[in-house]
Amino acid sequence: MTRKQKLVVIGNGMAGARLVEDIITRGGADQFEFVMFGDEPYGNYNRILLSGVLSGTHQAQDIFINPLAWYETNNVKLHAGARVTSIDRVNKIVIAADGVTTETYDKLVIATGSSAFLPPMEGLRTTTDGFKAGVFVFRTLDDCEAITQYAEGGKRAAVIGGGLLGLEAARGLLNLGAEVHVIHLMPHLMEVQLDAIAGATLRRSMEALGVQVHLNKATTAILGDEHVTGLQFKDGTTLDCEMVVISAGIRPNVQLARDAGLTVERGIVVNDGITCVDDPDVFAVGECAQHNGMVYGLVAPLWEQTAVLADRLTGRKPQAEYKGSKVSTKLKVMGVDLAVMGEKQPRDEHDEEVVYTEPLRGIYKKLIVRNGKLAGAILLGDTAMAPALLQAFDRGVLLPENRAELLFPLTDQVAAKSAAELPDEAQICNCNGIAKGAIVKAAKGGCRSLKALCDATRAGTGCGACKSQVQEIFEAAAGDTIVEDPSIHYYVPGVPLPKPELIAAIKEQELKSVSAVFRVLAVGKEDPASKAGLASLLKTIWHDGYEDERDARFINDRVHANIQKDRTFSVVPRIYGGVTTAAELKRIAEVAERYNVRMVKFTGGQRLDLLGISKEDLPNVWRDLGMPSGHAYTKAFRTCKTCVGTEFCRFGVGDAVALGIAIEKKYQGIEFPHKVKLATTGCPRNCSEATTKDIGAVAIEGGKWEVVIGGAAGSKVRKADLLITVDTHEEVLHYMGRFMQYYREHAKYLERTYDMVERMGIEKLRRVLVDDEEGICARLDAEIEAAVAAYVDPWQEAAQPHHPSQFVNILPKAEADAMLSQISKQPANYGD
């Protein structure tokens, strides 16, 4: 066997790591010894999803494509956190910044990506080398962390740059509670992808979300001595702000290549073989490479480049050539759907321009048709037609004469059929660059469940936007052979039973503690991720008869308060129906002063949150408040918002206050698979937003109440479905309770009501809960009454802690005896 060639890759980002993967999947592990250098101290992560990390929809650990373990498993030597500072092409050596780490190479790949472009302006840096405090760029995981930390506590933030990335940064900042201003040099947003009308439409959508957009503004200086205090613009105006994220474009990282004597223009120049024009052993892929005058800033072209290079390096297809990429993208800008491809303006009067606009709904669609073929398209706000148009664009097919067919799906069926009809080359998962053919192949080649398929192909594991398409293709390809992955039906990951079977087993074998469930139903294997869900379920089944092992609870439920990032806690006393008294307010104010509460805040649920309380102080705070727990820290009944209804409002037709208070007094603190928020509203004007709550009651003319379920106004917005219309408060309470118990018994752990309602369908729920199709209503009613009867205010533990060290963080070293004797006097279980 011949000696393995040594392949060194500079840059451990999306292109570099992808190339090594591509080589390995082509069997290249036998031919090459892999060495990688990465400036960032991590494995390779999905940079696209940084927007999600910043806006809180993704956790940092979830965006890794190749965690460090991957390198180990695949024998890839990774110098993490090592920046390469020079390439010696004569001796074929690369040298890292420490001057010590060096590697020789046979083949060298440069995949250094790009950096944020910093437009010239004053006051960017402090006298030392770094940025002024409060100045950020948005490119890496570390940038994300730094922005998140600085934005804490709700800052006034400016984003310089109204392109795609700038708007993503703006969304992230908005979600972090900042007041956000986008400063853009050009007359409309995202001018690279959009025309003026689309830019204006997008601007309106952004402003509706709360972002303030400033166009035609050139920033000349960042104000502030130690840290950012504002921006100075060329037109003489200024803007006060406490932080600024610069997102004014990117510049390929090419200095290294230039110093090594390689031909560099905007990017490192490569030929159709992805090879540097000056050196047959050096290659460049990704955002740092320039091919045929183009430098690409999106991932799709980069997948095409790595595939060609891998084909050539492994000898699979030594003649493979890269011919440039047709750029098209489908993305979400701050939650607004957008698809763009090709050109955005007609070239001359022969080009046909097809336009549809609906400004109020933020919809804009435009096609450029040239010689009967699609030359470009912009779809904003509604991208249902994007797959079909992308296909027409990629393959250059002749378009139907009736252009309207290109703008609107003719019927639902046509749209639904489309994924299955796509050709094999059509890219489905844009994050991971997975084509339809690969999904079909995996489905036919043994993947029998959607989860197995996604794991095997990585389709759908990025931003998740393509999941439904993947499922559709999978179902069409696998046909009857699909088996569902059973684990998606488990109530908790560590006990292999769906919820109904789990409940049956627990009841039958009288399992009363979390330990007992693990012992009997999970071959004794304790799974920490399953403990809290099991504790909640056991309480649902046995009420006060369950054995309360406190370690099975999340910290919030051990100390009955909500843990904050600095390990202090927030305390929310119950304020029934949002109605309080002067005396109560005084008490709250006194407590806030006495315990140096750092922030007193009105919550969205019509009550007061006292933030920044130490664990040790919790019992005293509760005692001094003299109010019951508001359960704002747990998966339980949270609050029932009310509007003033008939009592004061001139529109009111039902007494929303009295009903709300009655609901909250009855069902306070009941545990659920997830939190449950309620509201009552005195008329359909819906001032308390009852129709977007888990459970709501809406008064309607004629003295009646509509009981609605499954509403949402969080990361997802959903209008609640009508369960039943009733005449009295008692009936409202009754049906709400019945639905609550059903939810307790049928939802997976951490499944919100709205997901369950959508999963089961309102018709079925009406049949079960109103028509009593299954004959279970009487039992449900009895169970929820038992749960209500078993309720004890957890804040009573102020007087009688469950364990002597319940509210202690640090134990003193060896003064054991006093504490021990206390333990023996305590009953083993504090009465629930």
Binding site: F64, G81, D527, E549, H802, S805, I810, L811, L820
Partner: protein, 116 residues
Amino acid sequence: MSTTTTTTTKLVPTDLHFNLGALARIPPGEGKEFEIAGELIAVFRLRDGRVYAVQAKCPHREGALADGITGGGTVVCPMHSFKFDLATGAPLGHDCAALRTYAVSVNAVGEIILQL
């Protein structure tokens, strides 16, 4: 993410033994912190009887590991749910640095003895 890629770094072994008092002061299955020689250490009392001591703060963003949920010889940080092996300190399923671990045992009268 932590910004370093260190693995378990044990302190230089010494003969210092600390009596941390009765194990019963830690509720079963939970952890509590101790301040020893200027260091904050979390001691866990697992339900199966094993006792472990590791650095108190999560290498990710300094979450208090003692407030985490334990099980199967691991602890899950209460802040962002990163999991660590208590015996070795190794990160499980993520990229953070490993935890420092400390030798710990329980003596005949049920007291925790920690060795630095």
